[in-house]
Subunit: 333 residues, 2 copies
C-alpha cells in the first residue's frame, strides 16, 4: 500500500515538473475519503495555503502539521497498544519479580484482570511502564519493541498491530508531505516505543516524533558508550504537555493539527491561535462495525470537551463511518 | 554568500540530473578550505558514504550530522555570545531590580567586572539566565533575541554577531545537506536563543536545533494560549547532556560530528561508537590573527581531553590557521 502511494506521488511530481498543473490528469489525493465536506475542506486548505497567489498562502518553513497517534493514525482499542506491550513485558519479567504476585497493579496484569488494572488509572500504568520499560539501554529497548511488534497480533483482527493504521490518514499524511508540509507525530505514547516503526509505517522520520519519555543517562559499559533508560519520568506528552512538546521539539506553531481525544485539545487550541489560515481536524470514532464507536464515555480516547469546542469553533470533525470509504488498508485486499 | 552557495548547489543538482556525475565540470564544494588533509578527508568521507557501490555507503535516513555551535560554527570570544545577551538583559532590567546593585553576580554585571563575574562560574551564569531569560512568553523572548541581535555589535570586529560565522563551516553544512545529510545543531546554548536566527544564518530548520532549555507551561492569557518560560532548568545540553539531547531530539546515532571543546567529547564518542564509517571533526582554534588561538587554558571553549582523544583515535583536527583560507565571510568583501 505504501509502495502504491509513493508511486502515485512520484507520478504526480514527474507530471508537475514538465507540464502545467492544470493540464495534468486529476489524481485524487485522498481516494479513501468519501466526497463529503471533510475531504473537500482538506483539499481546499492545501490548495489555498500552497498557492502563492492566494491570500491564505503559507510559506514552506511554516507548513508544520502535527498528528496525534493513538486513535488518530491507528486504533487504540481495546486498550492503547503500548499497554498491550507493557502487559506482555510484565509477564515476561515476572520470573525475575516474584513480589509481583502480590503487588498491584502487577498482580492484576498477571491475573489478566483488566478491570482491576484499569482501577489503578494512569498511576498504575506509569508504575508498569517504569518497571518494564527502563533499566535497559536505548538499543536494547528498541530491539524488544521491534521483536514484540513482529510477533504480536491484535485480539480482534488477529493481525499485526501495524496493520491497524487508518488508510485515509496515510493518504492525508502523504498528501501533506507532497505539498511540503513537515509532518510530526505528537503522542502521549512513549517516544521510544514509536520511533522503531514510524518511518516504515507512516514515512515520518524519527526526529519528527514527539512523545512521552523517561530520563536517560550516558554511561560507558566497558569501553562502549550507551544511553540507559532510567525509571524516572522525563516528560508526559499529553494534554497541556502536547503544545509544550511541540514547542520543545519543533519550535514553531503548527498550521495543521489532527487528533481524536480531549488530550489533543490543547494542541488544537495552540494551533488555532496562530495568525492566518489553520486546520484543526478531529477524528470521531463513529464506526462500530469496521472499527469502534466511542467518544464521551470511553476511558481510552475520551472525547467530550474537544467535540464541544470543535463544534463551537467550526473545526472539521471527520466522521469515520460517513467520511471514510475504508478504514484499514487490509480491507482493500 | 548564502545565495551564492545555494546557486552553486542548484547548478550541481541540475547538472547531476541530466548527465553522468563524472562528466560534469568539477565544482569545489569547500572553496574556503585549503587543499590539505582535513579537506580531502571530508570529501572522501562524503564520496564514499553516498556511493551505493562503496562498502562504506550510508543509507539516507542514517545520514545524521551534528554540529556544536559556539566555537564550531561561529566565534565564542571574548565570551559566549549568549552571555553578552544575558549581560545586556541584566542592564535593561536593572531598574526593576534595585536589589541587584548589592547581589552577585548581578552586581558584577552592572559594574562591568568580568573577572568577578567569571568567578561565579556556571552557577552564576545560570542565575543570570534564570533571572533574565524567563517570566516571558516564548514569543516575547524570541522578539527580544531578534531585536538584540539586530542591534548589537561584536566588541572586536564592530559587526553584527551573525557576521562571525565561519565561512568554511557554512560550506561544510551546505555540502553535507546537498548530499542528503540531515544537519542538526547540538549546542550548550539556549535552544530558544538559537532558533530565531539559525534558519537564516545556517539554513538549518528550527526543529533541527538541540540546546539547553528551561521548563515552560501552557496557559491562557485572557483567551489567548501562550507558552511561558519558567525559571527552572529543563535540560542542560552540554558534555554527557549532548548525546542525551541527540537521542531525545533525533533518536538516531549520528555519523558525522563536529565540535571544538571538551564539552563536545561525549557526542564525539557517541558518534564514534556506531558501526560503519563515521566522521569526527574537531575545530582547533589556532589563529590568533584572524580569530583567536586557544585550547587547554581557555575558560571558554576549553579543549584538552578532546584533543588527546582525537589525536589518539585519529579523528580529524582542523587547524583554523592552516586549513582555512578565510575564517569569516566578510574577509572576502
Amino acid at each position: 500500500m505504501k509502495t502504491k502511494l509513493t508511486f502515485a506521488a512520484a507520478l504526480l511530481i514527474i507530471s508537475c515538473t514538465h507540464v502545467n498543473k492544470e493540464e495534468t490528469a486529476y489524481v485524487d489525493p485522498l481516494p479513501s475519503w468519501n466526497d463529503k465536506e471533510s475531504k473537500s475542506s482538506i483539499i481546499n486548505f492545501i490548495k489555498e495555503t500552497t498557492n502563492p497567489e492566494n491570500q491564505n498562502f503559507i510559506p514552506v518553513p511554516d507548513r508544520i502539521a502535527v498528528f496525534d497517534n493513538d486513535g488518530t493514525l491507528w486504533s487504540e482499542k481495546p486498550v492503547y497498544f503500548q499497554l498491550l506491550f507493557a502487559i506482555d513485558r510484565v509477564k515476561e519479567l515476572a520470573d525475575q519479580h516474584p513480589e509481583w504476585e502480590k503487588e498491584q497493579p502487577f498482580k492484576a496484569v498477571l491475573e489478566n484482570d483488566m478491570d482491576e488494572l484499569k482501577s489503578y488509572g494512569v498511576e498504575g500504568l506509569l508504575k508498569i511502564v517504569m518497571a518494564t520499560h527502563t533499566g535497559l539501554t536505548t538499543e536494547e529497548f528498541e530491539d524488544i519493541v521491534k521483536k514484540w511488534l513482529s510477533t504480536v497480533k491484535h485480539p480482534r483482527f488477529n493481525r499485526p498491530l501495524t496493520d491497524l493504521v487508518y488508510q485515509p490518514m496515510l493518504e492525508l499524511l502523504s498528501y501533506l508531505q507532497m505539498n511540503d508540509f513537515k509532518v510530526f507525530i505528537v503522542s502521549g505514547g512513549g517516544i521510544e516505543f514509536m520511533r522503531p516503526w514510524v518511518e516504515e509505517i507512516y514515512n515520518i522520520p524519527r526526529n519528527q516524533v514527539v512523545g512521552s519519555s523517561v530520563k536517560t543517562e550516558f554511561v560507558f559499559i566497558e569501553d562502549r558508550p550507551v544511553i540507559k533508560r532510567l525509571p524516572e519520568i522525563d516528560f508526559i506528552d499529553d494534554k497541556e504537555g502536547k503544545p509544550i512538546g511541540i514547542h520543545k521539539h519543533i519550535g514553531r506553531k503548527p498550521v495543521f493539527c489532527a487528533g481524536n481525544s480531549d488530550g489533543d485539545l490543547p494542541m488544537m487550541q495552540w494551533t488555532a491561535s496562530g495568525e492566518g489560515k489553520r486546520f484543526m481536524l478531529y477524528i470521531h470514532h463513529t464506526d462500530s462495525v469496521r472499527e469502534w464507536a466511542y467518544d464521551r464515555d470511553s476511558s481510552v480516547g475520551r472525547l467530550e470537551k474537544g467535540l464541544e469546542e470543535a463544534t463551537a469553533k467550526g473545526w472539521v470533525i471527520a466522521d469515520m463511518e460517513q467520511d471514510w470509504k475504508v478504514v484499514y488498508p487490509f480491507e482493500k485486499e
